[in-house]
Symmetry: C2
Subunit: 300 residues, 2 copies
């Protein structure tokens, strides 16, 4: 287990949980801002697990990951795996307009071609994207972590997905919370361009606690819009559960102003902004479970 | 010919010289700082030439290049070439210490594997590195450009290479200037760590104009040290000719203080700092020549 510069301390935690040897990579920045990566020990013949997240400085963190994979491969590592708590560039997962670069395809293929055998990511935007990597790509569902902190104290809960793409997230959390879930329908006015949100008509939100679940909070615009809508329907308390809290710009104050009471995110990016209504959950145990399940060569 | 966001205007110049169609790529940055790349026209069946340099923001510019290559390949381009005036990460071209990532190998292989057929770079740190790309990698020697501006007005010139690695640069420029060249020997005192420079003993520098040639000016430390040494030997005028003027930190004032009279660099990076003693030369004609020579399918 080898922690790269943006490991969030997760490499150390994982190796402690799993009983693996842990090393920090030797890292420096040259004066011109190029990254330098060196393994502090020979990893020939070893199964190497690299840990590096990719926000902020997505491009730099990705290049560093490529550098580390190359060094492991060239030393003759038996296998190279990477734990990437937040994998950047995942939202561009297809050509929405002809001629677009499909960034997640580029990255997953580049990592694979550099010699990466397995990749573990938390809550990737679209699970299907992992097929660009081929065999050995694992997505980790954060729902158990959210359920653990939310299972008590919610009043007549409803889990809400901001769009159809997030439905599987809502279904997963709702089943753990033994709650209902619903998917928001987004409508854009053809003339004004204004976005409106809609829940199924027969759904009563009044006096209920609503959990909005999503993968990424970037500027918070979408979630803020939905929170306002839910408030207008009489929701009692609004909780946001999102794996990756990027909180770009004034996202936090925007969410507060929209009526969000609490936000739960995972420790998957560097420098999560702190605020009285943000709770950061540690995904190490969840990642450890997935690693154990997929890497374990122990006999039954 | 397609200019990426860090094309330096060279894409436009090249296409005008070579009579090729030119397009700017559609580019934006998402709020979380991810890059977005889209081809404005269908390039299926075409020979695509991308233009992008990689300083500053080496990592971002490299990822963007990977994105563009992928988009060209997925549209069915007949071939994909890239003009990269400054290719970053080239100084780590081997394992100086065991376990180091060999960054230039990582990049060249990643570009190749993404589907790049040809790459053109100006004055790469070590020409040998291009073998990591395999066939289709071209290094462009800047000596003709430097010779053009230096050929008149030098008094009894001597071309100096700061180390053995730069010898081929000095030889190339000296032959065009019909001048002598010499290689500096660097010595590090084992006890104090102090670096001293040495020229061959029988070489007279007194009252001569000296041209120090190198590939990169980063912090300017090495060149400043050599300039001081040459001054101490009585050099009349000191000119620096370096392809890539990164000018990190206080490089410019440092070089001035060391006795450098003039600096010539090429337009190969974004935002070259300007100063009264810096002259920026345009490499477009040189690149056009190499493209014409290697891409031309015209009959003899």
């Amino acid at each position: 287990m080898i922690s790269l510069p943006a490991s969030l301390g997760i490499g150390r935690e994982l190796s402690s949980i799993l009983g693996l040897k842990h090393l920090d990579i030797v890292y420096k920045l040259f004066p011109d801002n190029e990254s330098y990566i060196r393994f502090p020990a020979h990893v020939g013949g070893e199964d190497v697990i690299l840990v590096q997240t990719t926000y902020p400085n997505q491009d730099k963190r990705l290049i560093e990951l490529l550098l580390a994979i190359d060094a492991a491969v060239s030393q003759g590592a038996r296998s190279v795996s990477a734990v990437v708590p937040y994998l950047a560039y995942a939202r561009q997962d297809r050509e929405f307009i002809e001629g677009e670069a499909v960034s997640i395809r580029v990255l997953l293929r580049a990592l694979k071609r550099a010699g990466l055998n397995r990749i573990y990511v938390i809550d990737i935007h679209k699970e299907d994207s992992l097929t660009y990597f081929g065999e050995g790509a694992y997505n980790i569902d954060p729902a158990p972590l959210f359920a653990e902190v939310l299972k008590n104290g919610l009043h007549n809960p409803l889990v809400v997905a901001p769009d159809l793409g997030a439905e599987r997230r809502a279904r997963s959390l709702a089943s753990l919370l033994r709650a209902d879930y619903a998917v928001i329908e987004k409508q854009r006015d053809r003339i004004t361009g204004e976005v409106t949100h809609k829940l199924p008509e027969d759904l009563n939100v009044n006096d209920r606690d609503v959990v909005i679940i999503d993968d990424i909070i970037s500027t918070g615009g979408t979630i803020a819009g939905i929170a306002k809508y839910l408030r207008s329907l009489g929701a009692r308390r609004i909780v946001v559960a999102a794996s990756h809290g990027l909180f770009v710009g004034n996202a936090i104050s925007r969410l507060k102003a929209s009526g969000v009471n609490e936000i739960y995110v995972l420790k998957t990016v560097e420098k999560i902004l702190s605020s009285d209504n943000i709770n950061v959950l540690d995904p190490a145990s969840l990642i450890a479970g997935k690693l154990h399940e997929t890497l374990c060569t122990c006999s039954d």
